[in-house]
Symmetry: C2
């Protein structure tokens, strides 16, 4: 039995969708960012980083979306969702997810979480970061559109753990200041993902 | 046969050490950052992201350190170096490496690569980022020291792919403004890593 700690409108949705996709037995605990529950002593005992998501397993606690996505696939008997039996294909999946986590998600975070990288009182620097988000995030999406997203799914004909991850980040594409017309394949992928039963169920749970 | 594109004093050292550790057949190509070769048309054909490192394999090109480390272990018949047969243990390895790539390395990069996140001409914002690096990187090392580094190796008794990755980032600990006395376990780990034959050989090659 797994327990997913999540917050609506955060990256936890990627793991949430995958849990539905593999038919995992799991429950959820909602963390309220408006009440800063991710910094509460209770949550910091679960995840000392104070970030979303965290996954409680029979053997301990896991964090970090790229790790959790592989874990959910592998531990549910679906290593095929990460192409794990093929070292090169698996590395391609991991490289894509690593790019999402360390480039796209990070660049996006400079819009709302600038105080991670400058003094929280430095309004000018925080505003400078926010102004740059459409450029940095836009460049990430240009590369994804041109070189990475094979279509119809990220890795081609097969749905993999890359798909719910890209879908979740692409929720923020417009608010990050990227014109959706610039990345038609990403938008088509987002639409295709939104039609899957697992995606609908995870989103419905989070909005309930 | 593998070919590693690397640049001295960058994160490519982590993969370089692991290639030595597993006894892989590989050659290297040095990229000169002083000549901005990572942005040359030739290198951008290999890695359109213009970043280090890249690994040329028989089946294509791989990028992103967390992906490459797993690939080198798995494809060289050493999946044990990533504890890949145990989904929970493997997820722990991936979570650690994901934290290095998306938190520690990113925070470090705000010292020298601030123009990724603000206008390159905004000297005040870039300086504001630089001033914050000792705080953000210091917080990462505090967490690693307290909660993550089990000792003697990152994952405990067994050397894994986490070790060359942490070692490489810890090269920059002092220049990132972190007092080494604050993180004795990290410093001891760095010393222990520096004594391994594979580490010595990779560093010697890069400095040659």
């Amino acid at each position: 039995m797994l327990t997913l700690y999540y917050a609506p409108d955060t990256i936890s949705l990627a793991t949430h969708i995958l849990l539905e996709e593999v038919g995992a037995a799991y429950s959820t605990v909602r963390i309220d960012f408006k009440k800063t529950q991710q910094r509460s002593p209770e949550y910091l005992k679960i995840n000392p980083k104070g970030r979303m998501p965290a996954l409680i397993t029979d053997r301990g606690i896991l964090t970090e979306t790229p790790a959790m996505l592989v874990f959910v696939a592998q531990s549910s008997g679906r290593p095929d969702l990460a192409l794990m039996d093929d070292p090169f294909a698996f590395a391609g999946i991991q490289a894509f997810n690593s790019y999402l986590c360390s480039s796209l998600h990070i660049n996006h975070a400079h819009r709302m979480r600038g105080a991670r990288w400058v003094d929280a009182n430095d309004a000018a620097a925080i505003a400078a970061m926010q102004r740059h988000v459409p450029i940095s995030v836009g460049a990430n999406y240009d590369l994804i559109e041109r070189d990475m997203l094979k279509g119809p799914w990220v890795m081609g004909e097969r749905y993999t753990i890359c798909d719910p991850y890209l879908f979740t980040l692409a929720q923020w594409l417009e608010t990050d200041g990227v014109d959706p017309k610039r990345v038609p394949k990403v938008i088509e992928h987002r639409r295709r993902m939104s039609e899957r039963a697992a995606t609908k169920k995870a989103i419905a749970q989070e909005l309930a």
